[in-house]
């Protein structure tokens, strides 16, 4: 079977809120956030009618409560897509949203459908990580994993142990830089374009969630250096050099390149390849490295070919390990996370992958000279996820679509 080209037409997200009662989404349902994203994607792309959407795939780590009952199907109905539109939900924790995207893209590539919406959501206020999970006792009894494996902060400390040259100071410097890049991007109005403002109900009345709650532009090395290391005595991982606990949803509009041409919508980037890989759960942050090697091997591309790398910043240490592996400039490489990352924006697990994809869309639009970009995430319980995308704005690109 001949595979078809799959393109991303658009990506949009809700603001990312802080998880918990102080977050602006505390009284807002996760499925309503998904509905907001679906409708905003269609509003921004009026050539695509609701009836054209043939798949609605959503990643969510917790698949119960307001993220339950096959979110991809329920959110399609709630968003006003016709009942004929199927949908499903998937879970690959932090890469759940990226998995939804690659699943839907694979359907399109195979000719199963022409147009799909895919994304990820996580309301970590409503669904604290692992809250409803019941890990098999064999994991510990048979020492399949160490007790650290299920506490993400501890896996980050393990990475520091594994790479002693990566110090807390380096992690803090990385984090500080991420905050600065994000603050700058916000100020330049680059982030607002990706966010669909949403009215949210609070005990003090309705308000509008139109900007992220997590970024701390005032961050300095000074403020970071005295933060506690909650996961270990004399540890290195702090709230400052890790991502936060957040609520948010992000989704993208995918279609076959042919369909984009037919509808006259701008195909902005093409999926080149993707890979998932497993690593020991105790060092889950290592995951992007084998996943990225794998996708390079599959596509014949290398880090040199990548104009942009959108790396999810679950923990600063995990980013630094990745940068070291692929020879990126430390503490900051201009190709890596130009608008900052999850340390500043927050990390509503499954929503992060689609956010990386959306960031890449914007980098490509601003940089016609760029050809390829990488999106990659580490995944709890030891996985990595990587996808490579091609810029269809790029000059001299044979796949370029000049609609």
């Amino acid at each position: 079977m001949k595979l078809r080209d799959v393109v991303v037409v658009d990506g949009v997200r809700t603001a990312f809120g802080r998880a918990g009662e102080k977050g602006f989404f505390w009284l807002t349902r996760a499925d309503d956030m998904v509905v907001k994203v679906i409708r905003e994607l269609l509003r921004r792309n009026p050539q695509v009618t609701p009836a054209m959407v043939e798949e609605n795939a959503w990643g969510a780590t917790s698949q119960e409560g307001d993220q339950g009952m096959t979110l991809g199907r329920t959110s399609a109905l709630l968003a006003g897509l016709p009942p004929s539109c199927p949908g499903f939900s998937v879970d690959r924790m932090c890469a759940g949203g990226l998995t939804a995207i690659t699943c839907a893209a694979s359907e399109i590539a195979l000719g199963v459908c022409d147009v799909a919406i895919a994304g990820g959501v996580e309301h970590m206020g409503h669904h604290p990580i692992g809250a409803a999970a019941d890990p098999n006792p064999r994991f510990l009894a048979e020492k399949l994993v160490s007790g650290d494996a299920l506490v993400m902060g501890k896996t980050a400390e393990n990475l520091h142990d594994m790479f002693p040259e990566i110090t807390r100071e380096m992690a803090d410097a990385y984090a500080c830089h991420s905050q600065k890049k994000t603050a700058h991007a916000i100020q330049e109005g680059k982030i607002r374009k990706m966010i669909a403002p949403m009215t949210v109900y609070t005990r003090e009345g309705w308000t509008v969630a139109d900007r992220d709650q997590q970024p701390r532009p005032e961050t300095t090395l000074e403020t970071l250096k005295d933060l506690k290391t909650p996961f270990r005595v004399q540890g290195r991982v702090t709230a400052g050099n890790a991502s936060g606990l957040n609520d948010g949803a992000c989704g993208v509009l995918l279609m076959s390149a042919d369909k984009a041409r037919e509808l006259g919508v701008k195909a902005r980037m093409r999926l080149v390849g993707y890979a998932y890989a497993g690593v020991p759960p105790e060092i889950m942050g290592y995951g992007p490295i084998p996943a990225t090697h794998k996708v390079f091997a599959q596509t014949g591309l290398s880090m040199e070919d990548m104009s942009f790398i959108e790396l999810n910043e679950a923990f600063a240490v995990q980013c630094l390990v990745f940068m070291k592996e692929f020879g990126l400039e430390i503490p900051h490489d201009p190709r890596l996370n130009p608008l900052g990352g999850a340390i500043a924006f927050g990390h509503p697990l499954a929503a992060s992958g689609p956010r990386l994809v959306t960031h890449l869309l914007h980098h490509f639009a601003d940089s016609p000279q760029a050809r390829y970009g990488l999106t990659t995430l580490c995944v709890g319980v030891g996985q990595g996820a990587s996808a490579i995308w091609e810029n269809l704005y790029a000059h001299g690109n044979p796949s370029r679509n000049d609609q």
């Binding site: 907001k36 409708r39 006003g80 009215t199 109900y201 609070t202 003090e204 009345g205 309705w206 308000t207």
Partner: protein, 681 residues
């Protein structure tokens, strides 16, 4: 229980068009307890407006409610504390004064009607410059006239100026007097109450965007100019409508009409002033007090029927109906529709059975035609009905209800036939309107399973069921009867097994009195008009053909037998009409009616006394007062509230009479005739 205070929460949103005040009305409870406006709520609005003005740079305001709920209007629990004209006037004026501040804001204001908006809750939206509504909002309207009040926080004035007199009459008067009909969001938009209709899914987001678009000059709102060209015609038509509904017996709709008419010519200030006076006048009226009592009775009190035994109800999986006449067929339809259980309907003649089954099928077809049921569901529903001539088909029924001819021997026979095949714990219920259940059960092997289950005609319209406890009815059967009534969405009132129970006893006493008046020399029309002026939904002699003269006579005779001729005389003239098979008193010709000359010929008056309307009313009301007192003394029902509830739901008596006892109390009839009051309020 005091209503929770609704507060107005202002929050400020830094939008691309500048600072927007988002004001949320919220009483801290979910949508099941809607926002209401007490004095404290209005104070909160006042404070919110102070804060908004203090900001100094606000560019627009959006007013909305907590999720799924806008506001349900004035906190009516505060009404009884208002006892003077001055207090009423002050309360109305305070609402006007605070809400007027919204109109005076120096920037665009938008009411985003996201849920129920009733009375004052709709009025506050009218003070905003723009309104949006979601099509899914279930209830929008002005129920004031239904409750003896007028929309007096600007509803009559601003509503008329927005919609024009014709639509204002429809909204404020016609709907309120048509069983308090309310609009959904779609209809409210079509009526012109809102400038934009946005789907519920992103209603608030789109409403906010609409306000921003207005501020940015990206959109404008066009409304038709106020058209008062047909004012005289509209007012005359409205007055005729109100007359036909309340016959002058309730002041509120007439007052509302004056305010609507006035609003076409007055400025807003004058309109508000007239509303203040109207509110102050009306809040002290008997009709307003009685309406609030009735509202509470029907909406709260009735939800927990008195006298339900503390026993688990038995499951009902299959129902039998004995008889296939009109009443039986209506019951078969009701059980299938509401309970979704198979129904076996039995009669003695195939043609009667066929007719009954065809009726049920026809009712389901009508529901499909009106879009109230899907074709497939209707087909399934009809398939649940099984017509039979054989009582053995009742064998596996859990609840068998008889609706056969009103004769004790016939009823006993059909019960005996059914009992032979039924399980010993299956319920035998009777829809009898007058006969003794105890006697009906006397010869059965299991009399403890017999209950009275008395519906009112038309079954689909009147929501009352009198549940009769016979001499040996056990707790489980009685509990099951209440459970079934609830599942049928009927309101149950427990009555003692006594002749004609409650509603029919009172209506028969009234009929007997009316017949006596005519016997003594009164005119049919005169009697009817005198009683219509009380505000009854139908005059007694108009009602007769609907009840059926033979049925009315039968009930009257039963009561006569039980209580004697002093209270329940059986007019020989009336008997003659039944023997002559007259269907009614009047002949209809076009829109008018006249007494059937044959009725006049058959009717031999024993006197030639002339009656004043007042005298007719007094006689009827005095008898009703005495009969009600006897009913309560005999403990036919547990309290005067049950009497009122039953008269409202079973006889359609108006809210503004408070059923019956409240009227008798407030008009001084009870104290005059009985030397005491029923005192339900």
């Amino acid at each position: 229980m005091a209503e929770p205070i609704t507060r107005f929460y202002p929050r400020f949103y830094d939008s691309p068009q500048g600072k927007i005040a988002l004001v949320t009305m919220d009483n801290g409870h979910d949508y099941r307890k809607p926002n209401t406006f007490s004095e404290a709520a209005l104070m909160s609005l006042n404070e919110a407006l102070d804060r908004i003005l203090a900001e100094g740079d606000v560019k627009g305001m959006l007013l909305t409610g907590k999720p799924y709920s806008f506001a349900a209007g004035a906190d009516i629990s505060q009404f009884p504390s208002i006892t003077t004209f001055e207090e009423g006037y002050r309360s109305a004026k305070f609402g006007h004064t605070v809400m007027q501040r919204i109109r005076d804001l120096p920037f665009p204001t938008l009411a985003a009607v996201n849920g129920v908006a009733l009375g004052g809750g709709l009025e506050i939206a009218l003070y905003c410059r723009y309104r949006t509504v979601a099509p899914t909002v279930a209830a929008i309207g002005f129920p004031e006239c239904f409750l003896g009040m007028v929309p007096a926080w600007g509803g009559c004035t601003l509503g008329t100026k927005l919609l024009g007199p014709e639509k204002a009459v429809e909204l404020i008067i016609v709907n309120a007097l048509s069983q308090n009909r309310l609009l959904d969001g779609m209809k409210a938009f079509e009526a012109g109450l809102a400038d934009r209709l946005f789907p519920a899914v992103e209603f608030l987001d789109e409403s906010l965007q609409f306000l921003l678009d207005i501020l940015a000059g990206r959109t404008t709102v066009e409304r038709p100019a106020l058209d008062t060209g047909r004012l005289g015609e509209v007012v005359a038509g409205a007055r005729a409508f109100v007359d036909s509904r309340v016959h002058g017996a309730a002041p509120a709709p007439y007052r509302a009409l004056e305010l609507i008419e006035g609003a076409c010519n007055w400025d807003v200030e004058r309109g508000f002033e007239e509303e203040n006076k109207a509110a102050a006048d009306l809040i002290l009226t008997r009709q307003c007090k009685a309406s609030l009592y009735s509202f509470d009775l029907v909406n709260r009190y009735a939800k927990r029927p008195r006298g339900v035994p503390d026993a688990p109800p038995r499951p009902i999986r299959k129902v039998g109906i004995i008889g296939a006449g009109l009443m039986a067929s209506q019951l078969a339809h009701l059980f299938i529709h509401r309970m979704g259980v198979p129904v076996v309907m039995k009669d003695v003649k195939q043609e009667l059975l066929d007719k009954g089954c065809a009726y049920v099928a026809g009712e389901f077809r009508k529901m499909v035609e009106r879009g109230r049921m899907s074709e497939g569901k209707a087909r399934h529903s009809v398939s649940l009905l099984h017509g039979t001539l054989d009582a053995r088909d009742f064998a596996d029924c859990d609840f068998v209800l008889e609706a056969v001819f009103e004769q004790m021997e016939v009823k006993k026979q059909v019960f005996a036939d059914a009992e032979r095949v039924l399980r010993p714990d299956a319920i035998l219920a009777s829809n009898t309107s007058a006969l003794s259940l105890t006697e009906m059960a006397a010869d059965l092997e299991h009399p403890e399973r017999v209950v009275g289950f008395h519906f009112f005609n038309p079954v689909a319209v009147l929501p009352l069921v009198e549940i009769v406890q016979a001499g040996k009815t056990d707790a489980s059967s009685l509990a099951t009867a209440f459970d079934v009534a609830g599942k049928l969405k009927k309101t149950a009132v427990l009555v003692k097994d006594s002749p004609a129970f409650l509603v029919n006893r009172l209506l028969s006493r009234m009929l007997a009195e009316c017949l006596s008046i005519v016997d003594e020399g009164g005119e049919f029309q005169q009697v009817d008009e005198a009683l219509l002026a009380l505000g009854l939904p139908m005059a007694p002699f108009e009602l007769l053909p609907l009840v059926g003269l033979p049925v009315a006579l039968h009930v009257l005779e039963t009561l006569n037998l039980a209580f004697g001729s002093e209270r329940f005389p059986v007019s020989p003239n009336f008997k003659k009409l039944v023997e002559a098979r007259k269907a009614g008193i009047y002949l209809r010709e076009g829109g008018s009616r006249r007494v059937d000359p044959e009725v006049e010929r058959l009717w031999v008056r024993t006197g030639n006394k002339a009656f004043h309307a007042e005298e007719i009313r007094d006689r009827v009301l005095y008898s009703l007062a005495r009969e009600t007192d006897l009913i309560l003394t005999e403990k036919v029902v547990s309290s005067p509230r049950e009497v009122d509830l039953a008269m409202i739901l079973g006889a359609g008596w108006p809210f503004f009479m408070g059923g019956l006892t409240v009227y008798l109390d407030l008009e001084g009839i009870a104290s005059k005739v009985l030397g005491k009051v029923f005192s339900s309020t």
